[in-house]
């Protein structure tokens, strides 16, 4: 099930952090991702473990890899996240939030 892969991928805090960092800048080498995790987030995880996390994200379609000459870069792909919104309908983002609509009539004591 593709959705199972998606939820499994999102269910881990390290993988969510990797997605955060790829949101800041898409197209990172494994080395850069490892550096960001350890130096910015204090996550002491091995390069092999990061590779495995990336493989899970890739299976879910959230990360794509691209070879450019001798280098390999990882890109963010948020398209699969739409399946979540489609499965559990989200009201129009442009519409008013339920609490932010016209003044609620709560002034009655």
């Amino acid at each position: 099930m593709a959705d199972d892969d998606l939820f499994k991928a999102l269910g881990d805090p390290t993988r969510r952090t990797i997605l955060d960092e790829l949101t800041e800048k898409s197209g990172q080498t494994l080395f850069e991702i490892c550096g960001r995790l350890s130096m910015k987030h204090g996550l002491g995880i091995s390069r092999q473990a990061v590779s495995q996390h990336l493989a899970v994200l890739e299976t879910a379609g959230l990360v794509g890899t691209r070879r450019e000459g001798r280098y390999k870069f990882h890109d963010l792909n948020t398209a699969p996240l739409r399946r979540i919104a489609e499965r559990w309908h989200v009201p129009d983002a442009g519409g008013p939030e339920p609490a932010a609509g016209p003044e609620p009539k709560e002034s009655t004591p």
Partner: protein
């Protein structure tokens, strides 16, 4: 004990000499013929002429290519050089056509960037907070 010399394997010593001196700005320290065409070729920082030497070693060993290619694919630098300002150095080198695999990124206390030395290796530059 002190670190006197460290080395990078380079595809072509003449090309490496050009890149490490003309582009990066190091100064040639030793250039001694070794064997048929190889040289004992070292460079140093102009700021520290008696500091650690970097040996530009011919990558002739069969294992060297496999090793270096695997590192480059994952973006892992072979050496790190200190610079006063990574962003300024990035701008300068980028202007000279140097290819970066990682643009300057603040990583906690340090700012780093990674570029291709055109001789088969990735090199990291870093600015440490003073």
């Amino acid at each position: 004990m002190r670190i006197h010399l460290t080395s990078v394997f380079v595809d072509d010593q003449a090309k490496a000499e050009h890149f490490y001196t003309e582009i990066l700005g190091f100064v040639k320290k030793h250039d001694v013929p070794v064997g048929e065409k190889d040289r004992w070729l070292t460079v140093v920082s102009p700021d520290e002429p008696d500091g650690t030497e970097l040996l530009l070693e011919p990558a002739g060993h069969p294992a060297a290519r496999t090793y270096r290619d695997a590192l480059v694919e994952d973006g892992i630098p072979l050496a790190q050089f200190a610079v006063d300002d990574v962003q300024a150095e990035y701008t300068r080198l980028h202007g000279l056509g140097v290819r970066f695999t990682q643009e300057p990124v603040e990583m906690g206390p340090v700012t780093t960037a990674v570029f291709d030395d055109t001789c088969g290796n990735l090199i990291q530059i870093a600015t440490q907070p003073q």
